[in-house]
């Protein structure tokens, strides 16, 4: 079967620093694939390479069997590849509905229309409202983005990506900075996305990763260390070492270390609900 998204020998150098060191990755259609690894492992750089935000030094990116290495970012989006950002990239002064409708117009091909007002594009507004309802954002549809709580803003980040109707969705730490209770809610929403959307998730919270992912790739120093099912990853001694090594680096890694798969109970992922640190 053709992979939904594939990286072949991706390399990215910044001067003398190798951020991505020959990454090959294949994500099957409908997959729930997580990308984990310590800080600075090159996860976000990989997402930037996959989406065309950065151009690779070597290697290629394939989307649904087509080579898109040379395609501009917006062309890849048109081909079904969407992403969210680790740090919110929203439209502060727009209302929630306005920004999502704008994104929907782009997908429906009406974004260059210059005669009728955006509010009169009923098809786009309907689709946007439906999406907001799905993400429980309809009650704040007319609020300005900048006036909303951080947790809501994270949802808008996802709403904007979903507005492009992706076949492959890259989520770069969607729950970053979101309080624990809200992040669970957020993941409930993500779990409800249809299988027609292939999802690649970058996340530091191992609890969430093991609940969500069916396959996990572990990145270390710009390269893929190993890939496997959650159970395999949990049992991998090398992965354990990477995370234990990280834990000794101090306070910031503390929370993550606590939730790391350093000593997961066997079969943690099988039932998909066991919190590792509980």
């Amino acid at each position: 079967m053709t992979a939904a998204l594939e990286a072949r020998g991706l390399v990215k150098r910044f001067g003398g620093f190798v951020a991505t060191d020959g990454v090959s990755l294949s994500v099957a259609p409908g997959a729930r694939h997580a990308l984990i690894g310590p800080n600075g492992a090159g996860k976000t750089t990989l997402v930037n390479l996959l989406t065309g935000f950065l151009a690779p030094t070597a290697g290629s990116v394939w989307l649904g069997g087509a080579d898109v290495t040379r395609s501009a970012q917006h062309r890849r989006v048109k081909r079904g590849l969407a992403r969210t950002f680790q740090i919110n990239r929203l439209f502060a002064d727009m209302s929630v509905l306005e920004s999502v409708t704008m994104a929907v117009c782009e997908r429906q091909g009406s974004a260059a229309h210059w005669w009728k007002s955006i509010g009169a594009h009923a098809q786009a507004v309907d689709a946007a409202a439906e999406l907001l309802a799905r993400l429980h954002l309809l009650d704040v549809a007319h609020a300005k983005t900048k006036d909303l709580a951080y947790g809501k803003q994270r949802l808008i980040e996802i709403a904007l990506a979903l507005a492009t109707e992706p076949t492959v969705l890259l989520l770069d730490e969607p729950a970053a900075g979101v309080p624990t209770g809200e992040s669970r809610e957020l993941f409930e929403t993500l779990l409800q996305l249809p299988r027609s959307v292939t999802i690649v998730l970058i996340e530091h919270d191992m609890d969430l990763v093991f609940r969500f992912a069916e396959r996990i790739s572990v990145m270390v120093s710009g390269a893929v260390l190993t890939e496997g099912t959650p159970a395999e990853i949990a049992a991998d001694a090398r992965v354990r070492e990477v995370y234990l090594g990280q834990a000794s680096h101090g306070a910031t890694a503390g929370r993550r270390a606590a939730a790391s798969p350093a000593a997961p109970p066997p079969g943690a992922a099988a039932d998909g609900s066991v919190g590792l640190h509980e």
Partner: protein, 332 residues
């Protein structure tokens, strides 16, 4: 679902009462200041020019210090066409829009690169190049002496341009209104909203599938064409082209007018032009040498205390009145 949810989005695009009232001003001015129609025409033309800058700066976020390049190009295009015997005003405006728009399209490739400072310098550079080219090509432009011998035919073959400037004024305001109406439609359309998206977060737009460069080129070309129309109007209403239509001060003054009035509302451009030109007229009459002193002072105050310009200040005032009125009604 659409009807309720889309409500506020549709509402934004609807004409407000205050807008209708605003457009009665130029009508009233015609009767109240019949001896100042030449100045009033200049105001309308400057307003149109400022409107074109607002489209790229206030909506798409492209700063420019060389917008006079397009104004001047339009002015010369209309002038040269009339001198060649094609003095029909509307034909002249079409030519001005076409030539300036073409120049805008070509130079838009330059403003795509880089951030604000780069854009300021590139637009400034294009302006300077054009000014000196016009200065050098005296056979074509008349150089510093200006382009003379321009004869404009009656508007629509009927309304001759009279010595009181009545036709010129009505013509200028009519063109201003028509272009404003078009621009107003555009800024509320999906295209206009996507421009705002680019201004607010240019890095996110490609991730939504937006071809950012194509959008910027489109609006830059459009704004150049409108600036060209403004330049063409100046030529036709004064029957003369001075080389300072291309000058740097004209570009700088325009930016000042727009910031004074407030960016990103279209009306800010109009209000800025009215206030600036009127102040210029009155202050220069009182004190011809030092009027820029007051201008500078006002500018500093606006930028420090009303960053969204006169339009922003007006909006806040209106909001305060509305809430005070609401409280009073509740009390009563």
């Amino acid at each position: 679902m659409t009807a309720n949810v889309a409500g506020p989005l549709r509402e934004a695009a609807r004409w407000k009462k205050a807008e209708f009232a605003f457009w009665l001003l130029p009508v009233a001015a015609y009767f109240v200041f019949p001896s100042d129609l030449a100045l009033l025409s200049q105001i309308a033309i400057t307003a149109l020019f400022a409107l074109s800058l607002d489209l790229i700066l206030g909506y798409a976020g492209i700063v420019s210090l060389g917008h006079a390049a397009f104004f001047g190009t339009g002015a010369y295009a209309a002038g040269l066409l009339a001198r060649a015997g094609y003095g029909d005003p509307l034909l002249g405006l079409a030519a001005a829009a076409g030539v300036a728009g073409a120049l805008g399209f070509v130079t838009s490739l330059l403003v795509l690169r880089g951030a604000d400072l780069t854009r300021l310098m590139v637009t400034l550079g294009v302006g300077l190049v054009l000014f000196e080219a016009a200065n050098k090509l005296t056979a074509f432009t008349g150089g510093l002496d200006g382009l003379q011998g321009i004869e404009i035919k009656p508007l629509l073959g009927t309304f001759a341009f009279d010595m009181f400037g009545r036709t010129a004024y009505v013509y200028s305001v009519a063109v201003l209104f028509a272009v404003f109406w078009l621009a107003r439609r555009i800024v509320h359309s999906p295209f206009g909203i996507s421009l705002q998206g680019i201004r607010l977060n240019a890095a996110r737009m490609p991730a939504l599938g937006t071809p950012v460069n194509a959008r910027l080129m489109a609006v830059y070309t459009l704004a150049a064409a409108i600036a060209g129309v403004a330049g063409g109007l100046l030529t036709q209403t004064t029957q003369f082209v001075s080389i300072d239509v291309l000058s740097f001060p004209r570009s700088a003054e325009l930016l000042l007018i727009l910031v004074l009035g407030g960016t990103g509302s279209l009306y800010g451009a109009l209000i800025g032009a009215i206030v600036f030109m009127t102040a210029h007229h009155l202050l220069a009459g009182l004190n011809p040498q030092y009027w820029q002193f007051w201008l500078g002072l006002v500018l500093i105050f606006v930028v420090l205390f009303a960053r969204d310009g006169l339009m922003g200040a007006l909006r806040r005032l209106a909001a305060r009145w509305a809430s005070r009125f609401a409280t009073r009604r509740r009390v009563a």
